[in-house]
Symmetry: D3
Subunit: 340 residues, 6 copies
Amino acid sequence: MGRIVTFGEIMMRLNPEGYRRFSQAGRFEASYAGGEANVAVSLANYGHSAAFCTKVPAHDIGQNAVNALRLFGVDTQPMIRGGERLGIYFVEKGASQRGSKVIYDRANSAIALAKREEFDWAGILEGADWFHWTGITPALGGFLPDITLDALRACKQKGITVSCDLNYRGKLWSREKAGEVMKTLVPYVDVLIANEEDAKDVFGIEPDGNDVMAGKLNHDGYISVARQLQENFGCRAVAVTLRGSISASENDWAGMLYTEGQAHFSKQYRIQIVDRVGGGDSFGGALIHAMLKGMGAQDGIEFAVAASCLKQTIEFDFNLVTEAEVLALTGGNASGRVQR
Amino acid sequence: MGRIVTFGEIMMRLNPEGYRRFSQAGRFEASYAGGEANVAVSLANYGHSAAFCTKVPAHDIGQNAVNALRLFGVDTQPMIRGGERLGIYFVEKGASQRGSKVIYDRANSAIALAKREEFDWAGILEGADWFHWTGITPALGGFLPDITLDALRACKQKGITVSCDLNYRGKLWSREKAGEVMKTLVPYVDVLIANEEDAKDVFGIEPDGNDVMAGKLNHDGYISVARQLQENFGCRAVAVTLRGSISASENDWAGMLYTEGQAHFSKQYRIQIVDRVGGGDSFGGALIHAMLKGMGAQDGIEFAVAASCLKQTIEFDFNLVTEAEVLALTGGNASGRVQR
Amino acid sequence: MGRIVTFGEIMMRLNPEGYRRFSQAGRFEASYAGGEANVAVSLANYGHSAAFCTKVPAHDIGQNAVNALRLFGVDTQPMIRGGERLGIYFVEKGASQRGSKVIYDRANSAIALAKREEFDWAGILEGADWFHWTGITPALGGFLPDITLDALRACKQKGITVSCDLNYRGKLWSREKAGEVMKTLVPYVDVLIANEEDAKDVFGIEPDGNDVMAGKLNHDGYISVARQLQENFGCRAVAVTLRGSISASENDWAGMLYTEGQAHFSKQYRIQIVDRVGGGDSFGGALIHAMLKGMGAQDGIEFAVAASCLKQTIEFDFNLVTEAEVLALTGGNASGRVQR
Amino acid sequence: MGRIVTFGEIMMRLNPEGYRRFSQAGRFEASYAGGEANVAVSLANYGHSAAFCTKVPAHDIGQNAVNALRLFGVDTQPMIRGGERLGIYFVEKGASQRGSKVIYDRANSAIALAKREEFDWAGILEGADWFHWTGITPALGGFLPDITLDALRACKQKGITVSCDLNYRGKLWSREKAGEVMKTLVPYVDVLIANEEDAKDVFGIEPDGNDVMAGKLNHDGYISVARQLQENFGCRAVAVTLRGSISASENDWAGMLYTEGQAHFSKQYRIQIVDRVGGGDSFGGALIHAMLKGMGAQDGIEFAVAASCLKQTIEFDFNLVTEAEVLALTGGNASGRVQR
Amino acid sequence: MGRIVTFGEIMMRLNPEGYRRFSQAGRFEASYAGGEANVAVSLANYGHSAAFCTKVPAHDIGQNAVNALRLFGVDTQPMIRGGERLGIYFVEKGASQRGSKVIYDRANSAIALAKREEFDWAGILEGADWFHWTGITPALGGFLPDITLDALRACKQKGITVSCDLNYRGKLWSREKAGEVMKTLVPYVDVLIANEEDAKDVFGIEPDGNDVMAGKLNHDGYISVARQLQENFGCRAVAVTLRGSISASENDWAGMLYTEGQAHFSKQYRIQIVDRVGGGDSFGGALIHAMLKGMGAQDGIEFAVAASCLKQTIEFDFNLVTEAEVLALTGGNASGRVQR
Amino acid sequence: MGRIVTFGEIMMRLNPEGYRRFSQAGRFEASYAGGEANVAVSLANYGHSAAFCTKVPAHDIGQNAVNALRLFGVDTQPMIRGGERLGIYFVEKGASQRGSKVIYDRANSAIALAKREEFDWAGILEGADWFHWTGITPALGGFLPDITLDALRACKQKGITVSCDLNYRGKLWSREKAGEVMKTLVPYVDVLIANEEDAKDVFGIEPDGNDVMAGKLNHDGYISVARQLQENFGCRAVAVTLRGSISASENDWAGMLYTEGQAHFSKQYRIQIVDRVGGGDSFGGALIHAMLKGMGAQDGIEFAVAASCLKQTIEFDFNLVTEAEVLALTGGNASGRVQR
């Protein structure tokens, strides 16, 4: 098993219970999550030594974020303490025709205001085999683009494999700004992950003829996007998640891995959604695991898609599944029978 | 935006948590609702000045009903204080083949025992553009048929538009009694709303060939019913909700607006039900909004059906949606994607 | 109405709230259930005098198991007090592709360590018309096979009808041991119930060509299995439940009753699952009721399947339905409309 | 152990969680209780055959009241089904200087509207040793004074011991009406229980010089009241509970039993209140148990006071203690140490 | 009854359930509060027309803050919509020797970043009799000192009475900065409120010889402080709250009103604390009510102290009591007896 | 900071919510705790490297116990996976005169059935400065006395300091058996901890003249017991906790450390109990910290008593306090004021 370091923001997630709307919430369920932290949890669950790097305030709420990761065995050594606040996001779970809703309150978080000199990348990356980040990290602004670049350069020096999930967030930066920054960072990436709209938003690359709203998936378009991403940035592999939103309660879910000039499409799952937030992150975590274990491309994309299918049947962001559970699904047991 | 007054009963609603049956309920979730109060909340959410008129006891439970409406900005000035009790209804949420169950404990409520002289309709209706009531109000018995008639006459004098949802309740009065009373009240109604069975129960008018249990919808039958209602009572418009119950968990939902000799059918939605109680009321509230805003007949019925589709994805009776959310659905975004 | 005695283990069931996984559970909902206790509750709900026999510890947790049955009117007189512990099982509810999970912690329970002389079968069976047990009871080991045999012999002497649900549990005993013991007990059985896999696991009898994982149902195979069971053990009737697992959230459900050389297949229901645990037990309880009421074979299997369909829309193991609710479903009202 | 029948109303009790006020309650905890039902539960917990007689509606909420008593082993055979509603009362728990608050919604309950001919007292009292009622029962009005008298006469015929808790409720009847009715019923009573104010409210008999608000207890006054009650109505024994309210969170609690011309005062307890509702009922239940067991007067009053002290450390109305737990307290173990 | 406008910040309050520490919180109870909003709620509960002025974001969380005030009848017309975030504070309830803990996350809230021109004080104060603010408002920084000054000048012009609670918050500004700013604002104040330490922190004025930690109260010291405050700033009245912390669970509570050269000390209450946050605000709200009603100085301070005593027996910040409940306590009923 | 290894059992703790009795529990709060695990958590909270050694089953419930310790930063490397079950204990929280109640269901747990060869003490104790165990560990029976002895011998070889809490559990072994086994193990102990009754139960050594039930503390008696323990077993230090149970809601709490022939008594605290379970363990954890930090004897006992005082204001077994919080209390801040 390898050692993976992921880098980004961890926030407090607050959601009303069940299907209550924000305006009906007298209580919020509190969890702690973030794209890269979610990946670290997935990898710890698969048995890897997974570490998470960020900055959180030195108070009880910041400590809760640390504890939430320790609970699942993530190495929290690289979490820096300081700053004023932990970012927060509010999640309202949708149902049927009513989509889920996310309100971010993440500005001025400890990590968003962190300084370059706070990160000793040589030390943080000591012994690491893999480094994972997402497009959200530099989007936080401040010195984050530079800090991310520092990390990537250290990875290159140490020969550490780098993966990135494009993850465009329009609330954090404009498409122009995103494209500009990401063009300097993605060249360091070996394995690039994108959901349906990221490639277009960040780099203007489109999956031709794909009508996301209608839930139809166009294989050729996805291959074309992946090829362009690979050609532009020299990534070893490009992975795409393919979501077909039938309603907030029911989604189709599949994925494609493009590597060595070959596209590998996974089986498609129809999911009765429990909580779709973190679906993409669980895809990334599972793909990294598949690659670290040396699964072939087809097996790897099947593993990543099955893992992220299961995530969406689990509450909150973290994908709390074992490798065995994912393999049972890729092995054909999708009928949800009782395990006694 | 207009000023709307609605008139009827508000009750305490008690439901076990989640899908628990009554016999499994150690706790009840408490909310406060009623057909006309629900309409007032919808209209307040759309930005109107909506007032609710009823009578509630002058104790803490009665005050809770007032507060529940103030929370969403309803004007509670016309709520009279007095009497002994607030009506209660118990709701058990169904699932799949097990239907939902409602037990009413509303007899002898403050409003049911109210007297004519307690209602100063000239004052209550001051500045109002629209008055809404349902067939439940006179069904409460006592002086309510007279009080309702007083209100309707005052509306006529002031030139206030009147809408009514037939809403037959067999537990409150017989078909005969309902027909007799409603025949004296419906002539004052400009906009008449009915669900599938009300026209038949109250006035003996049937949607020919419609098999409600089988979930099939017969367009011609509905038009015939609407035309009869319009002809009998001189309503400007008749609106019908069309529910196809596949199971307690899944319903088809559509509507029809008949006006100026023309029937306008809406799009049909397949709904994964969160809570269907209040669906019809949210249809009424949205239809009134559409009419006050001057939407055309087709846009109006689409708005009303989309709004009431969304209601059924929301817990408790109130339809907590904004106009923008409804328009997003009528505009085609039914896939329930995450709004970030 | 008859008097029925059921015999087996009752355990504490602990499940996380909603769809939380075990690793997310800060709270467990506690209920008390077991195959034979579940049948007793069903029968008490249908109006019978139903008694449950087991042994529970003489402390508060043991008393809770007694109380859980008294709540629904089961006669708990035959529950012996003593021993050290009540068995426990943990249930994690699945969704979509993620199956439910059960962890048993039942070894060394009071009943599992009970002695023959503690059971005065003549007294326990006094006035009984029917005795029900399942294959789980002897599988508990210790003296349970002997104790069960004692009970069955007493039934034979008194002319009490005996029903049994094969219910193979691989965690409790091997297929070989199960077959060996059950061969000595099933000859006393008048009405034998099996789910899809029990006949094969216990007696090596297979429903030919039935692919359980794929959710397809093969009628001929089931008839063949039932005929073999009847021929081997001389049962008056053999009943089979037919589950098609589409996912953890959606199942097809039907049943077959084989009696007097004739197979009677029920209607099939597609169920949106609320809680499938106890589904088979509710089938057994309803079948016994149908037989005690003298329903014909077709009506009986329809009643049993409808009852157990409804169970799966109800939280926890007990089937909290009345005869009237089941008859409404067999009568065709499957659309889940609101009962007001 | 004896057989006791108690007669009165059972209601649904709804209280907000913890110390929330009514205006903060989004949820209510539901339990089922009433003065005489509470006594029946106490007696069932002490091992007696305790039956409860009332009338509850034949719907799920009425059945919940039945189940709540069955749960603790009360014989619910004498509970008549019919009528429209179960009475409800709302409880808001006080703390410190803020007193608890109770809102009753019990008018027109099934029992309040019951008819004389519905009660077959010969059958209900079959095999009974003791009959218990309270002043609340006739206060419900309608035919209840007559029905209570019917019961008392039947008791006299059968030689059944009768106990009564005066329990004056000003919301139900005036002092004049109470005095008038109770004067016809109390002559049948062998054991009369009163809290501090009942004797005065109902019969105008006062505990001289007792300042209830200040929490001071005047022994002579209580003896004088008890003697008057005994002399006026010929009761064998009169028991008085002595509450000193320091605050809503802390009370002093003691009792006095006057019998054979002798007053027996108990030890006094300072109670950190968990839930004081039902305290008086638990005193009555324990006193009946003490008398049925033949404890002497001093032991009996100590038992009754200790039992009702413990009740006030327990949530909801029922006193869920065993005889052994009460005896441990009367035996001197009041330090609340952990029992392992 | 008068019209009162209060001005300040409203935040989301998040606290773990019961006595759980932050590190044990999987859920947070959400409420919305702030010093000046709390005063507005108190005044609305006493029957006044109370309005609250602030700025909240135009999203669902901001709307929740509006709704929380509407629920209790506060006029939310003067709440401006805009900005990015609602301030948040986390509350951990203490017990016994463990003090409560508050973590603020309020920087960059909508109100903290508000601009002068957003506040039309002439309009906001239209018809107002009283204006209330606290030292927290200017402490928020940005333009708040100026905006507060604008409001105070408008009050002077309109002859509106002004009250202020010094409320020093060391987390928001230094003592020096506070003193400097408050010296320009307090001269506009007619009624000045301070807890034990504010006068010292803000203006360096000390209650001589008072040992706050030891819970002893020194009357002369308080009078001396009040006289100094009055002399320095020309206030008509100075009110002081006197808290004696025995433990986190038990406090002594009293107050003093200094006016017309006379000190009026209230009765002292020993409080079993339910939630002490908001205690000072409820004192202020009650004092304003007493003055608006024309109670004399002694009655006024008794009313204010009794009201704020009751607040501390109520969960969350708002003081949900009526005038009648406060008067019952000042009238001597402190024993917390049940109100039926 | 040092490295500490603790060794013993960790169980699932299940308690009803709030003050509900077992018979009222529809839900249980689940936590994971045990005497030695609790000590490890305390030490991790004080900043030490604390590891816990035990054996837990390799299923989700066993993993939950691992996670519960990881959450607070305990090193779970020495936790062996295997065996069938995790021990369980049920806790019912007492109040006032009603004591708390604990029901154990721990027989046949993974650790109780563990084998000697499963424990590689050389590896487990690698780098350790301190080893802690309690009398519960050998009381579990099986090979545990031997395994404990193996550990103690390894400690002696490595020069690791050993502490032990006598912790007699009568449910696990007899006094005779306890004395016999502990006499072979305690000679390895450097720091011995006992509560009031352990010394007597295990070794027959009594604190003369101490009446535990009455809550009186006899200093001379404790010194005499400590001196005997030290003389008999050669311990460097003996620590005693002194609990005075006023009621289940209120306790006095103090401690004594006897070392170098000198007795050091701590300050005494009157505690409003939130949860007293784990109080003794938190005393041990804090005492070890004090000794590792080199605090003097008086400071050490003050620290240990203050820490364990705070524990009893915290829900569940773990003492979730920091060193700073304890020092604030020993420094005199016991008034529970709000920390903002």
